[in-house]
């Protein structure tokens, strides 16, 4: 049992932020020696079988009523003809079968929006991860003061609500009064006019507010890697890049999986930023993503069933991502 004591090395960190983190990770990373609570122990036997369900009841009621039931409703509405007339009770609802989906899949705009969503989310995820990981590595290379300063700045960006972040970034890039155009000498170039520059502006805001999560998590993960391992690699003459690729990356894989999947899920669902920054989807809907598209269909043009069908498509895509995630977790032997 001479395994490197990872928590020991990390406990000496000065940043209070990280110390707590390494503790729960410590032992269970190498072997799952964490005490397995309950079960066959005497405490377990003492408890009746009804108790856990009693504790779970409030959660299950809330989730059943406000999550599961709406999902069922979403699927149902997507199969019916449901517009303003049906909502106000003027006309009976009629069963459409897959008619709404046929209409949706026959609409070239839907495919355009779907592709835009996938590409935009992919660009956001890649940029967020790149920035977050690079800065996490940078954090390990600097002393306490610069580290604290960068950490605080990142916390500020993290804490900023999506809507205020959107308005502030719009103002920064405002063609008339924004400092960015002035600094870059762009005159009154409008960033929200062109399709790609508008998407790019939103991407900047999304990366700005979501990289801190990646940075903090990955940084904490790096700190939990035993110093001896890095020392050994360095003594063997490995370059920084080599250490990152062959030592850190494999050890950080579980954490990287989590932050990647979280980013995919968040960035795929971006709503506020697009809605506010491109004013509801851009000129002629050029900056629509699925979420905003569904909202516009349902609440702006009262085509609730089409909006629901888009919702179902989104749900299925994210479900597929989740299944991949679960497979990856299982392969790592995550114990639930």
């Amino acid at each position: 049992m001479t395994a490197p004591n990872s928590s020991g090395a990390a406990d000496r960190l000065r940043l209070p932020v990280v110390r707590g983190l390494s503790r729960p990770r410590g032992g269970s990373r190498t072997f799952n020696t964490a005490p397995r609570p309950l079960g066959r122990g005497s405490a377990g036997r003492r408890k009746g079988t009804a108790a856990p369900w009693l504790y779970l009841a409030p959660a299950l009621i809330v989730l059943g009523g406000l999550l599961v039931y709406p999902i069922y409703q979403l699927g149902l509405i997507s199969l019916f003809q449901y517009t303003q007339a049906q909502v106000s009770g003027g006309e009976p609802t009629t069963f459409q079968g897959l008619g709404n989906y046929m209409e949706l899949f026959g609409d070239p705009q839907f495919w355009q929006v779907l592709w835009a969503t996938v590409l935009f989310a992919a660009a956001c995820v890649v940029s967020t991860l790149a920035v977050g990981c690079a800065l996490a590595v940078l954090l390990t290379r600097v002393r306490a003061v610069p580290r604290l300063v960068l950490m605080l700045a990142a916390m500020g960006a993290w804490a900023t609500p999506a809507i205020t972040g959107s308005t502030v970034w719009l103002f920064l890039f405002d063609p008339d009064f924004g400092p960015v155009n002035r600094m870059l000498g762009l005159g009154d170039h409008s960033w929200t006019y062109g399709r790609f520059s508008a998407f790019f502006l939103v991407l900047l805001e999304v990366v700005w507010c979501s990289f801190p999560f990646v940075m903090v998590t990955v940084y904490a993960g790096i700190r939990a890697v035993p110093a001896e391992v890095l020392e050994a690699a360095a003594l063997d003459g490995a370059s920084q890049w080599r250490i990152w690729r062959s030592v850190l990356a494999p050890m950080l894989r579980p954490i990287l999986v989590v932050v990647t999947i979280q980013s995919v899920i968040w960035d795929f669902k971006v709503f506020t930023q697009i809605y506010v920054m491109t004013n509801g989807g851009g000129i002629a809907g050029q900056n629509l993503v699925l979420n905003v598209y569904a909202y516009q269909k349902a609440f702006a043009s009262s085509q609730y069933s089409l909006g629901s069908a888009i919702g179902v498509v989104m749900l299925l895509i994210l479900l597929a991502v989740t299944l991949v995630y679960l497979r990856l977790l299982r392969r790592q032997g995550e114990e639930l």
Binding site: L21, P24, Q73, I77, R143, T164, G165, M314
Partner: protein
């Protein structure tokens, strides 16, 4: 030996490189903080300086005009209070429910336990936004449209799966021996739950609550969709948009309102940041 290890990987970085790294860290921090700085700065700038084609990164004549405009705007204080009520109710209720559920899935072994855990994980991925349409009809049928309840209820539901998942680590960390000792000393189950386990898990609850607080405080979509006619039930994001008209936005007002909206979250973050990161460690635990 101790000193060598405590600096960790920094030992291998030669001095000029470290200097470069530190300089770039500070520069990046500057860039990251710049939008927030600009927001606060613009909120304090007098109108003439905001709408100037030569924006300066400082102001010599700070004024409270923009804030005054924001607070004089119809019932901004009320919107602020509404947002606070929604966020705090969501935080407290979801923390309590999640605590009970997390205890159930970590302290007991029962049929469907693993299935349930996987369901909680899957539930985190459900796009809240996609459910706006059915929730809209649900709220309408229960007469909750235009009430704060229509914002509170969905947010409790959507913050629960993640909260349960995250609290699991904290509940797990409380040694089982403690539980046995409590029972041997004659404590009842509910006494153990509320007087022993609850205080021990409290730091975890705080970390978890950041996420539910933020999701409720930032909510824009539900506020926009469910509060349609009764503006007295509106929340901050909607109030902010009053100043933001696409054609001629009142930037001073927008920046002042944004500042007012960001500050509570910042305070909350600073207060719990230690717990937050350790909480993430629990949730992200491999």
């Amino acid at each position: 030996m101790k000193s060598v290890r405590s600096v960790g990987s920094v030992t291998f970085v030669r001095r000029p490189w470290r200097l470069l790294a530190e300089t770039s860290a500070l520069l990046i921090a500057l860039v990251v903080a710049f939008p927030l700085y600009w927001m606060v700065l613009s909120a304090f700038k007098p109108a003439g300086e905001i709408e100037s084609s030569e924006p300066r990164p400082w102001t010599l004549a700070p004024s409270l005009d923009s804030f005054r405009r924001v607070f004089e705007q119809n019932e901004f204080g009320r919107y602020f209070l509404n947002s606070l009520v929604v966020a705090c109710t969501v935080v407290i209720v979801s923390a309590l429910i999640a605590f009970l559920a997390a205890t159930a899935v970590t302290r007991f072994r029962f049929r469907f336990r693993t299935t349930l855990l996987i369901m909680f994980l899957v539930a985190q991925m459900v796009p809240v936004e996609a459910l706006t349409i059915p929730l809209f009809f649900l709220m309408r049928d229960f007469g909750q449209l235009n009430t704060l309840g229509s914002l509170i209820l969905p947010h409790i539901a959507f913050s629960l799966p993640f909260a349960i998942w995250m609290l699991r680590g904290f509940v797990k960390a409380v040694p089982e021996a403690l539980e046995e000792a409590a029972y041997i000393d004659g404590a009842s189950r509910s006494r153990f739950l509320w007087q022993i386990l609850f205080p021990l898990v409290f730091p975890g609850l705080v970390a978890t609550s950041v996420f539910s607080f933020i999701s409720a405080w930032n909510d824009f979509l539900f506020a926009k969709s469910f509060i349609i006619s009764d503006t007295s039930q509106s929340t901050l994001p909607m109030a902010l948009l009053v100043f933001y008209k696409p054609d001629e936005p009142d930037w001073g007002g927008v920046m002042a309102a944004s500042t007012v909206m960001t500050i509570p979250v910042l305070i909350f973050f600073v207060l719990v940041q230690r717990r937050l990161v350790s909480g993430l460690g629990g949730a992200v635990k491999d």
